[in-house]
C-alpha cells in the first residue's frame, strides 16, 4: 500500500539561550494510507515535536518529510496551510475549539475555508454523528470537556482528511469519556479510510493502533507492528 507519510533522517534542534538542545535525532519511518499509528514515549521524548513536524506546523533542521505525496520542506507557509486544509485533520489534547464560535461554526470552519457552500449542513451532520446536534448553537465554554472533544473530532473529520493527527486526544478526559472519543476516532477512521496518527502516553490506546513508534530522548527505540 502507498505511504501517506514518509519521514527520512529527521532532525530538530531548539536553542535555549546559548545552549542547543536536539529534541529529535535521525528519525525515519513511514505510515501507509488508512493505517492507524501511535507515537508513544515519556514526557520530553519529542512526541509532540514530531507530530508538529509531520503535520507541517514546523520546519525541521534536516531530513525530509513527505506528506500526501508532497515534500513539506519545499512548501511555503501558505502552501502548507492549504495542504492542511485539504488533507489533514487535527485533534488536540486541550480541544482548541475557537472560543468565540459556536459548536456548529467550529465544525464548519475547515469547510468554509475551502469555500464549501454546504459547510453548515455538513457540519450539522457531523455533529449528529458525534451526538451533539442539539448543542450546535452552544459556545465551547458552555460544553463539558468530553463534549468539546467530540466537537473537535467532528471538526477534524469535516474536511474529509486523508490523515488525522491526534495529540493526546484523551489526555484531558475521564476514562469513560476518553473511551467514547477513541471509539469515535476509530469508527471514523474505518468509515472514511482516514489515516490516524495518535500521540499518547496511554499504552492501552496505543495498543489499539496497528503500529506503535516508541521514542526516548528524541530517538526511535522501537517501531512495532501490533498484532490485531
Amino acid at each position: 500500500m502507498a505511504k501517506i507519510l514518509n519521514i527520512e533522517n529527521l532532525q530538530k534542534t531548539y536553542s535555549s539561550g546559548s545552549k542547543k538542545l536536539t529534541v529529535l535525532h535521525n528519525i525515519s519511518f513511514g505510515i501507509e494510507e488508512g493505517a492507524t499509528f501511535s507515537i508513544v514515549g515519556p514526557s520530553g521524548s519529542g512526541k509532540t515535536t514530531l507530530l508538529g513536524l509531520c503535520a507541517g506546523l514546523d520546519h525541521s533542521d534536516s531530513g525530509s518529510i513527505e506528506l500526501c505525496g508532497v515534500q513539506l520542506n519545499s512548501l511555503s507557509e501558505d502552501q502548507r496551510a492549504l495542504l492542511r486544509n485539504n488533507k489533514v485533520g487535527f485533534v488536540f489534547q486541550d480541544f482548541q475549539l475557537l472560543p468565540t464560535l459556536t459548536a456548529l461554526e467550529n465544525v464548519a470552519v475547515p469547510l468554509e475555508l475551502q469555500g464549501d457552500k454546504n459547510a453548515a449542513k455538513i457540519g450539522m451532520e457531523l455533529l449528529e454523528k458525534v451526538g451533539l446536534a442539539d448543542r450546535h448553537h452552544h459556545y465551547p465554554s458552555q460544553l463539558s470537556g468530553g463534549e468539546q472533544q467530540r466537537v473537535a473530532v467532528a471538526r477534524a473529520f469535516s474536511n474529509k482528511p486523508s490523515i488525522l493527527f491526534a495529540d493526546e486526544p484523551t489526555g484531558n478526559l475521564d476514562a469513560e469519556t476518553g473511551e467514547k472519543v477513541v471509539e469515535l476516532l476509530f469508527n471514523l477512521n474505518k468509515e472514511l479510510g482516514t489515516t490516524l496518527v495518535i500521540v499518547t502516553h496511554d499504552i492501552e490506546l496505543a495498543q489499539k493502533t496497528q503500529h506503535i513508534l516508541r521514542l526516548k530522548g528524541g530517538k526511535i527505540v522501537e517501531n512495532q507492528t501490533v498484532a490485531q
Binding site: G52, D78, A81, N85, P99, T100, Q114, G115, Y139
Partner: protein, 851 residues
C-alpha cells in the same frame, strides 16, 4: 495529490467578514472600552472642528451685515486731503459716521454713564438692520433728531422711549432702544453701551475737540463687479500711509474669525489630546485583545487558514469597530457642538446657526477607521507571525516578527499624529514639536518602566512575606503588564495633567486682581485747565485723587533715522506694523510705579536739555520696534518733531488694573505740549460712584469716566464663560483619559485571571489575592501617574513659553488631586478585576473568562 502551486484559499472575502463578525460578536464585552476610546476621541474632534467651521461660515455669510457696508475707510483723525481724494475717487462715501466715547446723562433718573456715541448718516446700514424697539425707531430717530440707546442700558436705568439723554451740550429725546447694530461689539458694549444719533448732531455736542479720541468712518456700497480683494491690495498701503485704514467686509469677517484663533488653539489642543488619549486607549486595548486571540489564530492556521486570512479577519473586525466608533463619535460630536453656543453666548460675534459640515462628518468617519487600524496594526502583526505550533502546547518565543514592518508601523503612527496635528494647528513647527514631545514622553515612560523592572529584579527583597513578594514578582516576570500599563497610565496622566496646567496658564493669563490699594475709577480726557477743578470735585466727595497723569498723543516719525513711511514700504522690515501706525498716549513722570521693573538701561527722572530726550519704553515695544538701549526715535507730537533716545527698557505688568504706558518721558520735556490728563480715584461703593459721576458730568461733560468695578464685573463674567467652556472641554478629555485607563487596566484583567484562579485553587485566601493585586496596581498607579505628572510639568512649561507666551506657575491640583485620584482609580479597577475571582469557584471563573 493536491496542487501546491495554487496557494490561494477558496474562502471568500465574505467568509473573512463573517469570521470577523462572529468573533467580534462574541467578544463584544471586551471591545466596549475600545469602542468608547474611539467614540470619545472622535466626538471631541468632531464637535470642536464642526463648531469652528460653522462659526467661520456664519461669520463669512453675515460679513456684510456685520459691517453694514461692502467696505469702509476709517481713521482716528479727521481725514487729510489725500484720504479725501481717495474717497472722492471711489465716488464719495455712501454714508459717514463719527464715533467717540463720552459720558451721557439721563435727566429722568439723574444717572450718568460712559457710552459709545455713534453719529450716523441716514441710510446706514446698507446691509443688515438697526434692530430697535419699537421697530419704527430705526427710521424715525433721524427724522426726529433723536437717539437710539442700548437696550440693556435702557433696562438697567429704567428708561423708555420718549425719555431724554444728554450728550455733551445737547439733550435729545430717546426714539427707542437699540438691540443690535452693525459694528457694535457685545463685549465693548457692556463697558460703553452704544448710543446712535443723527450724524448732523455730532458737532452740536461740542465734544469733538483736539485731543479727543474720535473715529471717522466712511462707508461704501461696492459696484456689483468690484473686486474687493484687488481694491484692498491696491489702496490698502496707500491709505495706511495716511494713517487711515481700508477694510472690506471680507477682511473684517476674516479678522473677526481670527480673533477666535487663540481660543480655537486651546480647543484644538483639547481635541488633539482627546484623540491621542483615544489612540492610547485603542493601542492598549488591542494589544491585550490580540494577545488573547493568538491561540485562536494558531488553531485557524492548523485548520488551513493562511496568515493573510487570519490577519485580515482581525483587521476587518477592528476596522469595522473603528467605523462604528467613528459613526457614534461623529453623532456625539455633532450633538455636543450644539452646546457650545449656549456655553459661549455673547462671546460670539454672530448668532451661530448649527449646520453639519460634510467635511467634518467624513473626517470623523475616516478618523475612526484610520486611528483604529493604525494603532491596532502593531499588535495585529503578531497574527502574521504566530506559529500554528502554539495550538500543540509548544510555547515558542516569537522571534520572527519583522523588525522592519514594526518600524514602518511606528513611522506610520507618528506620521498620522503629525498630519493630524498639522491639520489642527496649521503650523508644521508646532506639529513637529508635538510629535517629538509625544515620542519623548513614550521613550521616557518606557525607560522608567524598564528601569523599574530591572531595579526590582536586582534588589529583590527576598526576606519579604509571600504576598509582598508575589506582588513585586508580578511586575517583572514573563507576561508582566508593567510596560504597557505604565505607558497607558503615564501617557494618560501626562495628557490630562498637561491639559490641566495649560488651562491654568490660560485662565491665569486672563485673570485680574482687584486690589483696594489700586484705583477703581479712571477719569479720561480731562483738559489741563480742568484738572484742578476735577480734583477738587473728587476731594469734595471725600475721595482720594490717586493719580493725576498727563497724556500727550504722538506718533513715530522715524526709528534710527529711517522714516516710518520708508519702513512701511520695505517688505523686508521686521518692525511690527502697529508700531508704525499707532497713536501713542505718552505720559511723563520722574519715578517708576509698582507695576514696572527696569530690565535694561538707566531711568532718567528729569531732564533740562531737550535735544535728545532719554525715554523709557516697555519691553514689548522694544521687541516689536526692534530697538534697544541707545537707539534713536523721533516722535511727531502733533506737528512738532521731538528727538529721543531709548534710555531704558521696562517690564510692565499689564494685568494690573492701573494706567500703564508703553512710552514714558522724563519730566522737563512735554509739560508745554498739548495734553489732557487722566485722574484716578478709588470709590468704595455704587452710591459714591454714582454721586461722583453725576457731579462730574454736570460740570465737565467732556470727561469720560470708566468705573473699573463695572469693567471688572464684565471681564469676570466673560472669563467665567471662557473658563466654563475650557473646563467643560478639559473635563471631556479627562473623561476620555479615565475611559482609557479603565480600558487599559480592565483588559489587563485577562492577564492576571489565570494566576489568581491558580492561587485560589492552591488555597490562597481572598485577602491574600486582593492584597497581591492591590499592591501590584498600586505600584503601577503610583509610578505611572507620578511620571506622567512630572513629564507634564515640563511640557506645560514649554507650552506656556512657546505657544501661549506667558509665565507658568504650576498648580498643586495635579499633585494633590490627579496623582492620588488616578492611583486610586487604577487600584480600584484592578481590585474590581479580582472580585469575580474571589466570589466564584475557580473553574466557573476560568470558563467564563476564556470566552
Amino acid at each position: 495529490m493536491i496542487n501546491t502551486n495554487k496557494v490561494a484559499s477558496k474562502a471568500s472575502f465574505q467568509w473573512l467578514l463573517k469570521m470577523a463578525w462572529r468573533d467580534g460578536k462574541a467578544s463584544r464585552k471586551k471591545l466596549v472600552l475600545f469602542m468608547a476610546s474611539i467614540v470619545l476621541g472622535i466626538a471631541a474632534v468632531v464637535s470642536i472642528q464642526s463648531f469652528g467651521e460653522t462659526l467661520k461660515e456664519t461669520i463669512a455669510l453675515q460679513s456684510k451685515s456685520l459691517m453694514g457696508a461692502d467696505f469702509k475707510i476709517d481713521s482716528n483723525q479727521p481725514p487729510n486731503e489725500r484720504v479725501i481724494q481717495i474717497i472722492d475717487s471711489l465716488g464719495g462715501a455712501d454714508a459717514k459716521e463719527i464715533g467717540f466715547s463720552s459720558m451721557a446723562a439721563f435727566p429722568k433718573t439723574g444717572a450718568a454713564k460712559l457710552v459709545q456715541v455713534r453719529g450716523m448718516e441716514e441710510g446706514f446700514p446698507f446691509y443688515g438692520l438697526l434692530e430697535t424697539e419699537p421697530v419704527m425707531a430705526e427710521n424715525e430717530y433721524q427724522k426726529q433728531d433723536a437717539a437710539l440707546v442700548d437696550a440693556t442700558l435702557m433696562l438697567q436705568l429704567g428708561l423708555k422711549a420718549g425719555d431724554s439723554i444728554k450728550i455733551g451740550t445737547i439733550t435729545l429725546p430717546i426714539a427707542g432702544s437699540l438691540i443690535a447694530a452693525p459694528g457694535s461689539n457685545a463685549i465693548f458694549s457692556s463697558i460703553a453701551p452704544p448710543v446712535i444719533i443723527p450724524y448732523g448732531l455730532i458737532a452740536e455736542t461740542g465734544l469733538v475737540q483736539t485731543g479727543s479720541r474720535i473715529n471717522y468712518d466712511f462707508y461704501f456700497i461696492a459696484p456689483p463687479k468690484m473686486d474687493l480683494a484687488q481694491l484692498e491690495k491696491k489702496l490698502g498701503t496707500v491709505i495706511d500711509l495716511e494713517d487711515a485704514d481700508l477694510d472690506t467686509h471680507i477682511s473684517t469677517s476674516e479678522r473677526l474669525g481670527r480673533r477666535y484663533d487663540n481660543f480655537g488653539k486651546f480647543l484644538n489642543l483639547v481635541a488633539f489630546i482627546a484623540l491621542l488619549l483615544g489612540c492610547v486607549g485603542i493601542a492598549s486595548a488591542i494589544h491585550i485583545y490580540i494577545k488573547e486571540k493568538l491561540r485562536a489564530v494558531a488553531v485557524l492556521k492548523c485548520l488551513g487558514a493562511t496568515k493573510r486570512q487570519t490577519f485580515l479577519i482581525y483587521l476587518l473586525q477592528i476596522a469595522g469597530i473603528g467605523f462604528l466608533g467613528g459613526v457614534a463619535g461623529t453623532v456625539l460630536g455633532l450633538l455636543l457642538q450644539q452646546l457650545f453656543p449656549l456655553l459661549l453666548g455673547d462671546l460670539l460675534p454672530v448668532d451661530v446657526e448649527m449646520n453639519f459640515s460634510p467635511q467634518v462628518i467624513i473626517m470623523g468617519l475616516l478618523l475612526g477607521v484610520l486611528m483604529s487600524v493604525l494603532f491596532a496594526l502593531y499588535p495585529l502583526m503578531n497574527t502574521l507571525y504566530v506559529s500554528p505550533l502554539q495550538a500543540l502546547r509548544v510555547q515558542e518565543e516569537d522571534t520572527s516578527k519583522s523588525r522592519k514592518a514594526g518600524i514602518m508601523v511606528l513611522l506610520g503612527i507618528f506620521l498620522f499624529i503629525f498630519i493630524f496635528s498639522f491639520w489642527l494647528l496649521k503650523d508644521w513647527r508646532y506639529s513637529l514639536a508635538f510629535v517629538g514631545g509625544i515620542l519623548i514622553t513614550f521613550a521616557v515612560l518606557a525607560g522608567i518602566a524598564n528601569l523599574f523592572m530591572k531595579s526590582i529584579k536586582k534588589y529583590f527583597p527576598t526576606s519579604w512575606g509571600f504576598v509582598a513578594r508575589q506582588s513585586l514578582l508580578n511586575l517583572f516576570r514573563p507576561q508582566n503588564q508593567t510596560l504597557i500599563l505604565i505607558l497607558a497610565i503615564g501617557v494618560g496622566t501626562f495628557l490630562i495633567s498637561t491639559l490641566y496646567f495649560t488651562k491654568d496658564v490660560l485662565l491665569a493669563q486672563a485673570s485680574l486682581e482687584s486690589n483696594a490699594k489700586n484705583p477703581n475709577m479712571i477719569l479720561l480726557d480731562v483738559q489741563t485747565v480742568q484738572k484742578d477743578s476735577v480734583a477738587n470735585i473728587i476731594d469734595s466727595q471725600d475721595l482720594p485723587v490717586m493719580d493725576n497723569m498727563p497724556i500727550v498723543t504722538m506718533r513715530l516719525q522715524s526709528i534710527n533715522g529711517r522714516l516710518v513711511n520708508e519702513i512701511r514700504q520695505d517688505s523686508t522690515a521686521t518692525i511690527k506694523r502697529w508700531i508704525l501706525n499707532h497713536e501713542f498716549r505718552v505720559s511723563y513722570r520722574d519715578a517708576l510705579t509698582s507695576s514696572e521693573t527696569l530690565t535694561a538701561g538707566e531711568w532718567t527722572p528729569e531732564v533740562t536739555n531737550t535735544e535728545l530726550v532719554p525715554i523709557s519704553v516697555s519691553d514689548n515695544f522694544a521687541d516689536d520696534a526692534k530697538v534697544t538701549v541707545g537707539d534713536k526715535i523721533t516722535f511727531n507730537v502733533q506737528g512738532v518733531l521731538l528727538n529721543a533716545v531709548v534710555g531704558s527698557i521696562r517690564k510692565v505688568d499689564w494685568a494690573q488694573m492701573q494706567m500703564n504706558f508703553t512710552i514714558l518721558f522724563p519730566k522737563g520735556v512735554l509739560e508745554n505740549a498739548p495734553q489732557f490728563r487722566v485722574l484716578t480715584t478709588s470709590v468704595p461703593n455704587d452710591l459714591a460712584s454714582a454721586a461722583l459721576q453725576q457731579e462730574l458730568v454736570k460740570n465737565f461733560p467732556n470727561v469720560s469716566i470708566i468705573d473699573l468695578r463695572q469693567v471688572l464685573t464684565v471681564v469676570e463674567k466673560l472669563l467665567d464663560k471662557i473658563s466654563w467652556l475650557i473646563n467643560f472641554m478639559a473635563f471631556f478629555s479627562i473623561f476620555t483619559g479615565i475611559i482609557v485607563l479603565l480600558g487599559a487596566v480592565k483588559t489587563s484583567k485577562y492577564q492576571r485571571i489565570r494566576e489568581s484562579v491558580l492561587l485560589r485553587t492552591l488555597g490562597a485566601r481572598s485577602n491574600q489575592i486582593l492584597k497581591i493585586t492591590a499592591l501590584e496596581y498600586l505600584y503601577l498607579g503610583v509610578l505611572g501617574s507620578l511620571s506622567g505628572i512630572l513629564l507634564s510639568l515640563l511640557s506645560s512649561q514649554l507650552l506656556a513659553w512657546l505657544v501661549f507666551d506667558t509665565p507658568f506657575i504650576p498648580s498643586l491640583i495635579p499633585f494633590v488631586v490627579l496623582f492620588p485620584g488616578i492611583t486610586l482609580l487604577v487600584l480600584g479597577i484592578g481590585l474590581g478585576n479580582s472580585i469575580g475571582v474571589i466570589k466564584s469557584p475557580p473553574l466557573e471563573v476560568l470558563r467564563k473568562e476564556v470566552r
